[in-house]
């Protein structure tokens, strides 16, 4: 192991430790007791739920990008599909871990499999669909990597061992199978993702209650997936000391087009969502839900982080030929977009809950507990570390 890798790995482990401490504190002390809305200020779903949404929507985004390249003939994306697959796997696993650790009674999760389930609950279907998605994704990855794993078997050390273990089951025509499974995976991912949108469709929360919300979730998944793919590929090549050129450059340029187009649609969605909700003749609750974003407690998050940083600035960077044609320019735009998307998740989850239910009620402002922030940092570090480990173990560079 190189010295730089050791330092990098140690720093990530330290951050994961910080996150683990945050989670431990959240579960062993009532640091954030949840209270009835009307009797006190309180938001039951907070930063970790927003983080969960961020991760699972991102995994759907990756899956859509993968399917475009693998199934739907966007051949320019093929050179980056392996990275996207690993990132899809890592984000869904960390996402599920995030929501599991946000549960007050995480050890009772077995109810979901043991049959004590409520089939009218959207949350039950969310669990089932994401579990199904993980299974399909793993099968797809196995088929896709199979030929390269066969080549990797000859290597010594851990990589060779991993390849030998993973190739114990035999298969042929694996790429064709990967395509079929890839179609099933993206289908499951989109259903799971739109189901997640429906989960937020609580009818008395006007910011959430919107028939377009599931569609909005799928759209934001494309934005999120495209931007994170660019970031992942760019950082991977940077760490490998390889300049992005040739086929991988073409793939980045294809992602630039997808990202730019989906950001434009996203701008329309965002604008009309708030225009219809804040229109003077909308219902009182609808206006009260929208106004904190326009000129209230969430205004900075919305105008600066979501709109300026997350949508407008990246669009300008992507559209400007001199910036957009450079991989660094697309990377910068993607970084801004992901920042905006992260704030979109926070605003969606916490802003939706923090509305006035009755005239005269004080407004709960968005406050983040230090333990939540620690846990969030830990989960991000875990995502990077897991990706790094999986990247090292899988045959990513075989045949290059």
């Amino acid at each position: 192991m190189k010295k730089i890798e050791f330092i990098f790995g140690s720093a990530l482990l330290l951050l994961i430790l910080v996150g683990a401490l945050g989670i431990l504190q959240m579960h062993t002390h009532p640091v954030m007791p949840i209270e009835p809305f009307e009797s006190a200020e309180g938001i039951p779903w907070r930063l970790l739920v927003a983080l969960y949404v961020f991760f699972v929507v991102s995994t759907t985004g990756f899956c859509i990008i993968i399917s475009l390249g693998e199934v739907f003939g966007f051949t320019k994306l093929e050179p980056i599909l392996k990275e996207c697959m690993l990132m899809a796997l890592v984000t869904i696993l960390v996402g599920l871990m995030t929501i599991a650790l946000d549960l007050e009674q995480v050890m009772r999760g077995y109810f979901a499999i043991a049959g004590h389930v409520n089939t009218t609950s959207i949350m039950f279907w969310m669990i089932m669909l994401y579990v199904l998605y993980v299974i399909f994704l793993i099968v797809e990855i196995w088929f896709y990597f199979y030929d390269d794993l066969i080549k990797q078997r000859e290597e010594r050390g851990l990589r060779g061992l991993v390849a030998r273990v993973l190739t114990i089951p035999k298969a042929s025509e694996t790429k064709d199978f990967a395509k079929v499974i890839g179609f099933v995976t993206v289908f499951t991912a989109i259903i799971a993702n739109s189901n997640l949108g429906a989960l937020f469709g609580v009818n008395y929360i006007p910011l959430w209650h919107d028939p377009l919300l599931p569609v909005h979730f799928v759209l934001s998944a494309i934005v999120s997936g495209a931007a994170l793919s660019v970031i992942g590929v760019y950082i991977t090549d940077f760490a490998r000391g390889v300049k992005i050129e040739g086929e991988r450059y073409e793939a980045i340029q294809m992602l630039r087009v997808i990202l730019g187009f989906s950001i434009v649609v996203m701008i329309f969605f965002t604008a009309w969502k708030f225009v219809t909700k804040a229109y003077p003749n909308s219902t009182l609750l609808s206006r009260e839900a929208a106004l904190p974003f326009i000129n209230g407690e969430f205004a900075f998050n919305f105008w600066v982080m979501e709109v300026a940083v997350g949508l407008l600035l990246p669009l300008i960077l992507l559209a400007a030929p001199q910036i957009g044609r450079r991989a660094e320019g697309v990377f910068a735009a993607s970084l801004l977009t992901v920042t905006g998307i992260f704030f979109l998740r926070i605003d969606h989850v916490m802003g939706g809950l923090a509305l006035k239910l009755i005239t005269g009620m004080s407004f709960p402002s968005p406050v983040y507990h230090p333990f939540e922030i620690m846990a969030t940092i830990g989960f991000f570090a875990l995502t990077i570390l897991l990706y790094y480990v999986v990247y090292k173990l899988m045959p990513m560079e075989v045949g290059e």
Partner: protein, 245 residues
């Protein structure tokens, strides 16, 4: 076990099953409701304290199965937000006796609205719970199985009345049960018993001789947030329109 013994066992078991089923069938005729007369509530908070003591609810302002909202209205038709002043009582410390509350509400119409879980007939919390931890009893009460609850907090999000919270020690959600352990023994809920003015009345609305039946017949009753179609079992007498909203 031979055939004779097996048949004996069955013969002994069947009447017992029939008895239990008969009891349940009898109970299913009951339909518990609580009638709250807003005109009688003086905002003393005895119900809040009684509930906390009876049900082991922490003496924390933020955690209450029942609470009282005090309203002070400036104009007859409030237009601005400042026209309505609202304060909440959910501990033994009574903010309505506070000097600032009295000063700022002088000259306004003031009244108190006790609130609790509405035990909706179409309860959002029951519908959304992924593990069936929330359920209806045959007499219409919405209960929580604390051994099953995974603490996902979806019920807190889904409840339009804000009547559910996470118990900080038990690490599961908690809410009013109409003191189910008491009413099954023929006793009144703790809050009803503690109310000095009789603002809260509890009973079986299917029983024509019960006080709740009489109150429902003789008064115009309203429910909170009827627009969500939850069909609450907590009925209010003398409720102002914007509290209903």
């Amino acid at each position: 076990m031979n055939r004779r013994n097996f048949l004996k066992l069955i013969a002994g078991f069947l009447p017992a099953v029939a008895l239990v089923r008969g009891q349940n069938a009898g109970e299913s005729h009951k339909s518990y409701v609580m009638v709250v007369d807003v005109n009688k509530c003086i905002g003393c908070g005895k119900c809040v304290v009684a509930c906390k003591v009876e049900n082991d609810v922490p003496m924390d302002f933020k955690l209450s199965r029942t609470w009282i909202e005090g309203y002070a209205v400036k104009e007859k038709i409030p237009i601005e937000e400042s026209d309505v002043k609202k304060e909440v009582l959910s501990t033994s410390k009574n903010p309505f006796l506070d000097k600032s509350w009295i000063e700022t509400t002088r000259g306004r119409k003031t009244f108190y609205v006790p609130k609790l879980c509405n035990h909706c007939a179409n309860a959002p919390c029951v519908n959304v719970c992924p593990v069936y931890a929330r359920f209806y009893t045959k007499d219409g009460v919405v209960l929580l199985d604390k051994e099953t609850c995974i603490g996902c907090k979806y019920c807190i999000v889904a409840c339009p009345y804000g009547a559910t919270f996470t118990h900080p020690e038990q690490k599961v959600t908690d809410k009013c049960t109409f003191c189910y352990h008491r009413i099954k023994r023929g006793l009144k809920p703790a809050c009803v018993l503690a109310c000095p003015t009789g603002a809260r009345v509890f009973g079986d609305v299917n029983d024509e001789n019960s006080e709740v039946s009489r109150l429902v017949k003789e008064n115009r009753v309203a429910v909170l947030k009827p627009e969500w179609g939850t069909f609450p079992r907590v009925l209010y007498i003398g409720l102002d329109s914007y509290v209903v909203e």
